[in-house]
């Protein structure tokens, strides 16, 4: 690695937001490399901070700067402690539902705690993340314990793809709840990530 010129910027993003981050970077013309961590870490959030730590150690050798796209994501502050140790910042927010759905998503959760959020990623990866990941396919009796509390499904839609919307509808049916589609677009994510990436570098 010695003698190799370091690239200016890496974004380390949760895989669940990779498409959105790539779109933002492309639209804004950033000279950036996108690296992702497995979105399925959310099934065991305690894996997130150690994995991000390991990836940051590696990326810091190759980049002048690294920006992280994650919420707290159930790490209970462990992720922020890792980022602080590395001197790296992340997009603010508790989770991607809030980043995409904004304040309204938090309000929905407070007013209707049985709200279940879908994003494009979760719709695309429902089988991998839920049917296989949570074991609902192998252990059908888990459907109740996991989902009995769900009363509403809110799809924070980014891409207006009829196939995705149809799939979201099927998921809502599986959960036995009405589907509410909100065209969230990139939500708060674009502004928060842009603030981080385009913020002037601190004076040396």
């Amino acid at each position: 690695m010695d003698g190799e010129k370091r690239r200016p910027l890496a974004i380390l993003a949760c895989g669940a937001l990779a498409r959105e981050v790539r779109e933002i970077a492309w639209a804004r013309g950033w000279d950036v490399d996108l690296h992702t961590a497995p979105a399925l870490h959310h099934l065991s959030p305690k894996r997130i901070a150690p994995d991000v730590d390991r990836r940051l150690r590696e990326l810091e050798q190759r980049y002048e700067r690294v920006v992280v796209v994650y919420g707290d994501c159930g790490t209970g502050g462990a992720l922020d402690a890792v980022l602080e140790a590395h001197g790296v910042e992340r997009t603010p927010g508790p989770h991607c539902y809030e980043m995409l759905g904004g304040r309204a998503a938090l309000d929905a959760l407070r007013e209707r705690p049985g709200t279940f959020f879908l994003t494009d990623w979760l719709v695309r990866n429902w089988d991998r993340a839920v049917v296989e990941g949570l074991g609902v396919g192998r252990f059908p009796f888990l459907r109740g314990p996991y989902f009995d509390h769900v009363t509403h499904v809110r799809y924070l839609r980014h891409e207006r793809d009829p196939a995705l919307t149809e799939r979201a509808r099927a998921i809502a049916e599986f959960l036995g709840c009405p589907l509410e589609v909100v065209d969230a677009g990139l939500g708060e994510l674009e502004g928060r990530l842009t603030d981080l990436v385009e913020r002037p570098a601190p004076a040396p």
Partner: protein, 220 residues
């Protein structure tokens, strides 16, 4: 014969065979087996093994949740017999709740079931429980321990609100408070002044026993 059946129950639970586990538990209880032995050796010890395998990375989330659900189903069969038989009791009450704004009770139910197994008298207030209701329950039931669960990052702060409400009601010193849930850490527990924290159900039982001064499982 009963020993073999209890071993069979443990095996079915470990193999995550819901139907077999429930059938064997039912057969044991209907056949007059000692419910305490069924609960301890057939179910609770097996859940400790599940916890060990989870911590060692040998089991993954779906398996652990499936084991917890099978445990719950079997416990529903065993518990009435245990109560009818007088059951083992530690003489300590536990009030448990999933905090306001959070409807996830899988972990809390698991902890509650294992607390009962250990001999605690468990009063489960359910999910989405406001701080005031927890305060009321503490005033009325005078438990040794309150267990607070949160799964959502956004509801974890409610645990602090419950502690504050207990303080305000002048009840904080009369009860030990344990916190848990996926985003909850030992650091958070310390930060809000909770008395105990556990990352999983078997550890929660150990922590609870330690809090009430019973060291039976503390070193297990």
């Amino acid at each position: 014969m009963v020993d073999e059946e209890i071993a069979d129950l443990a095996q079915a639970l470990l193999a995550l065979d819901e139907q077999r586990a429930v059938a064997v538990a039912r057969a044991l209880i209907d056949g007059g087996a000692d419910p305490q032995a069924v609960l301890q050796r057939g179910l609770a010890d097996t859940m400790l093994e599940v916890g060990r395998r989870w911590n060692a990375g040998e089991l993954f989330l779906p398996e652990v949740v499936a084991a917890a659900e099978i445990f719950r189903l079997c416990n529903e069969i065993v518990e009435p017999a245990l109560i009818a038989a007088g059951g083992r009791t530690l003489g300590h009450r536990v009030v448990m709740a999933t905090v306001k704004g959070d409807l996830h009770d899988l972990g809390k139910n698991m902890v509650g079931a294992m607390m009962k197994t250990a001999g605690f008298e468990v009063h489960d207030l359910g999910k989405d429980v406001p701080a005031e209701r927890i305060v009321e329950a503490v005033r009325e039931l005078e438990p040794s321990i309150v267990g607070l669960s949160s799964l959502l990052t956004t509801t974890v702060p409610e645990q602090r609100a419950v502690l504050a409400a207990l303080e305000e009601a002048g009840l904080r010193r009369s009860v030990k408070v344990m916190v848990g849930g996926a985003p909850v850490t030992e650091e958070w527990a310390r930060q809000i002044g909770a008395d105990g924290f556990a990352p999983n159900a078997p550890e929660a039982v150990r922590a609870a026993l330690a809090l009430v001064g019973d060291e039976r499982l503390a070193g297990a």
